[in-house]
Symmetry: C2
Subunit: 151 residues, 2 copies
DNA sequence: CTTGACCTTCACATAAATGTGAGGGTTGAA
DNA sequence: TTCAACCCTCACATTTATGTGAAGGTCAAG
């Protein structure tokens, strides 16, 4: 597919697709006329890139971890210099930290949202609630799922 | 404590502490001489801010979710306008997305690191390995723990 | 053949987080 | 008293991921 289709299917501006290529995150064939030509796997790849970018990783780091995310699992073991490995382990640990931070914060938000919901359900209008949140034994699907950390 | 101590205890440049205050993420008393004075809870607060910033959240968003992370759980329900609630739920969902993306990537890195480790242990020097990674039944503590997502 | 919808490169602009440093006040210890 | 180590504000610089648009090539349909 050409850049326009990839852009549309990934919700990514063309500008950014060229930028990712420039940063070495994405590769493209070139048609005879010079147009970029992408294969089907690029869709997932771009989504990966966007997700990691949105999660705070700079392109420089994404470039290093992208080879780990390719499907044919153990074929890319070739380029395993000690420094590369060290970088990977360091970044893996940083990602674990981010995950923990996000988990804590997300769960706190869920609790908060739930508390407000319960509070409003019982008719309080903007008034503060002194009791603990443990009375939040409600059966609403969506919110309940969120609180318990669903996927 | 003054800004220097807070900076040191959180590993954050003074410049950034003032910046966070400017963005409304952090508050400080002022001593008679104009020096900023911070309470003990600021340490955790700054660490929270830094973690979220590093996880890709802009200060504008962090400012909105920080009230949810305060300890006295249900006291801050006061300022629950519908828009605030909508924002919180939207951001909670984005955080869930980030968590999933980071989890996938981190686990992939762990698998990769593990595969390389096993590969090197059996004496291959930079050569690629064709078999699946399922033979990675090793007992190394650190790596094994990382693969299974420890902590 | 022309028009419109693609594509190319190049370049300048912007927002956000951060670095750096100037110019100047406070304070405690030598 | 003077010096070092803090603190203040202000301002300009940098990096990264983006937005925007100019100037121009390609190509299919009218």
């Amino acid at each position: 597919m050409r850049i326009g289709e990839l852009a549309e299917r990934t919700g990514t501006p063309r500008r950014m697709l060229r930028y990712y290529e420039d940063q070495g995150l994405l590769v493209s064939d070139r048609a005879a006329n010079g147009y970029r030509e992408y294969g089907e796997p690029c869709v997932d790849r771009v989504l990966q890139i966007r997700g990691l970018l949105d999660s705070g990783l700079p392109t420089r780091v994404i470039k290093q971890i992208l080879p780990c995310l390719k499907e044919p699992r153990a074929i890319h073991v070739t380029d395993a210099t000690p420094e590369t490995m060290a970088t990977l382990e360091r970044e893996r640990d940083r990602m674990t930290q981010r995950i923990e931070c996000l988990l804590r914060s997300r769960d706190a938000i869920s609790d908060y949202v739930e508390a407000v919901r319960v509070n409003q359900a019982r008719g309080a209008s903007g008034v503060s609630c002194d009791g603990a949140v443990q009375d939040a034994a409600v059966q609403d699907d969506a919110v309940q799922g969120a609180v318990s950390g669903r996927r």
